[in-house]
Symmetry: C2
Subunit: 395 residues, 2 copies
């Protein structure tokens, strides 16, 4: 069997492959980006699913509109966007998706011709790299710093490459947990207008803030309608439901709808109805307070353990939110080798940094730790084992 | 904003656009392919969703594997496929999808380079045409007859064009409701082997049989592992859940998994769990008996009304199953014009035939009627109005 050119070179997602390892409960996993199971609104979801199907089953079990389940689109438009500073959107700017990943796939379909240049942060979400590779894009990158990408470097790359789009996770970036500063957000919006460049503002983590100041969305500085916001409910409610919403240029959203007709027809109604109910019942605020208290604690536990057990030459910073701690080892040290030994000898998993980079070999001395999926005592135990391994590997 | 070449020429799905019309409850709709709402297992789904989330919420609300929720993959492999004559498949042949439409999208991604030739039945499912257009395939076709495509015409086209794939709905084809004969099924499987051509056997309607003999799947004649079967649960359980399963070549399925990682990460777990429970609780057989009694009745009511109210020159046949009646008007008569007037003057909707054809203008004198979505009295009333309109338009 002959496969298409676009799929030939694409490897499976490093994180998805981790699922096989994670099947072994003895493994302490800092891989993935799984929410803590105590953070799922389980009882609420069980009862609400029953009520929704009993009361609205005729609609929810039937085909639904590709644009999305209207009560969710409305809840997003009227209740989610305004507090984020987006007050002039209309229903035509809003589409729902089967997870934000689908948003990226739809945007790749409607925006990218093979060979087109797209600009990403380096490192960045490996799922985005995979999608842009399948779209046969020419991927160029701008480096991440402690306060995200730098405006001058960003502008230089945009000027030089005229990318069709810039993909960014400005707040609690995956994998680095860094936050883009306000000035760069403004510059990003200006560049979107000046170069007629689409900015994909992927924002799954901003709601998971434990400390520091809330940052304005790039979308709030958008004067050209060239910034599209992706809002995932995977980290805040449940990834297993696969629900996300999006706010962008109406013409672009219309093209996404056509692409979505040919992707999965529409997102499942029940799942969208659950998220709509969660928002409309006003449960989000209290729920976020709860999960942020959980994750803030887990992050502290992990950072404290890292300070205690990691060698000094392993560099990292305490995140202000999100789900990850990003670790940089000394130059020349191979995080993939650490990973192999960690899984085999120490029964600890994480994600080596390499797949977050656009090209192999750029930065093999980095790795990502997730702190949301394991209970505290296993976080401490896993970090202890990992610290021991690092010391074993480099005196 | 500049959109990609692949999306520029693609129009929205004619059926999806119908949803806007269908918002008006005064319209009697023979468009879409919506199951009857009394055919949804509503009470069961409400109670089972509650139980599933209460008992397995930690798993169902969490990220799941891209290959699919294991209990559903197993149920499909062990309980669904063997009675269909597929007994030697393994779990690596099985992937679950967010509706069969996603299966087509994934197959297009992993099989089709721009310019590659794909072969379809003419007319065929308009969603497939849309997907192959977005994939920038060169679409060629083989005509449908009363017993499906003909083996000699099929072989001729395969020999001439060496298509990378042949897309077929062999049983109760959409839109014609025709059934491919056994001989052609065998030839199709032979051609798949001889020409190393993928055959996509899309099978959403076969379970909806009211009369006539059950036909063997093309997949049961597959000696080369080049036939991939798509099984949708949209027509038998609920389209709103967006769940389908697929059985094909393990290497191909592996590529689909990679493409699915970059499409929606995984299908929602709860929805897959509901379908798995439905199968595992042995509810399907009785449920199919029930819905087939409903649809068989609706089809009869529609056919009887058509015989009574339609002019003689409107040609159609009583279907043995599925959801549709296909109508052919005299040459030169434009079904799109009928459609415009039907919606405006008679408040009756259906799908004109044109979008089911691979090129504009091939066969504008056809249209598709769906009989599953309206109650009997509205079927009779709608057919009466439509018959009147046809007579008004052509003496």
């Amino acid at each position: 069997m002959q496969f298409s050119e676009r799929i030939k070179g694409v490897k499976g997602s490093a994180i998805r492959e981790l699922f096989k390892v994670l099947g072994n409960p003895a493994i302490i996993s800092f891989g993935g980006g799984n929410p803590a199971k105590e953070c799922f609104p389980k009882e609420w979801a069980a009862e609400t699913a029953r009520e929704l199907i009993a009361e609205k089953g005729d609609v929810l079990l039937q085909y639904g509109p590709t644009e999305g389940y209207m009560p969710l689109r409305k809840a997003y438009l009227e209740k989610v966007l305004p507090p984020l500073g987006i007050k002039d959107a209309t229903i035509d700017n809003v589409i729902t998706m089967t997870g934000s990943m689908q948003g990226l796939d739809l945007l790749a379909k409607v925006m990218i011709n093979p060979g087109d240049t797209v600009l990403v942060e380096e490192p960045t979400f490996l799922g985005a790299i995979q999608i842009f590779n399948i779209a046969q894009a020419n991927i160029v990158s701008v480096p991440m710093h402690d306060d995200g990408v730098h405006a001058d470097e960003l502008e230089e790359m945009v000027k030089k490459h005229h990318p069709v789009l810039f993909y960014t996770i400005p707040t609690f970036q995956n994998p680095t947990s860094k936050v883009m500063n306000v000035e760069t957000r403004k510059v990003t919006a200006r560049l979107a207008a000046e170069y007629d460049m689409l900015v994909i503002e992927d924002d799954p983590y901003a709601a998971l803030r434990f400390s520091g100041e809330v940052m304005p969305l790039i979308k709030t500085f958008d004067t050209s309608d060239n910034v599209i916001l992706l809002t995932s409910y995977s980290k805040t409610i449940s990834p297993g439901l696969r629900v996300a919403c999006c706010c962008g240029n109406a013409e672009l959203v219309r093209k996404m709808v056509i692409a979505k007709q040919g992707s999965d027809t529409h997102s499942p109604n029940l799942n969208q109805a659950l998220v709509a109910e969660f928002i409309n019942q006003g449960k989000m605020e209290e729920h976020l307070r709860f999960i942020n208290s959980v994750y803030s604690k887990s992050a502290s536990v992990m950072i404290d353990a890292m300070r205690k057990y990691f060698p000094e030459w392993a560099k990292f910073e305490a995140p202000e939110g999100g789900l990850f701690v990003w670790v940089t080892l000394p130059e020349g040290m191979d995080a993939n080798e650490v990973y192999q030994r960690a899984v085999k000898d120490k029964l600890v998993a994480f994600v080596p940094g390499a797949p977050f980079y656009t090209k192999p070999g750029i930065c093999d001395n980095t790795f990502r730790l997730n702190f949301s999926a394991e209970p505290e005592e296993r976080i401490v135990e896993g970090i202890h084992r990992l610290g021991d391994l690092l010391k074993e590997m480099r005196g």
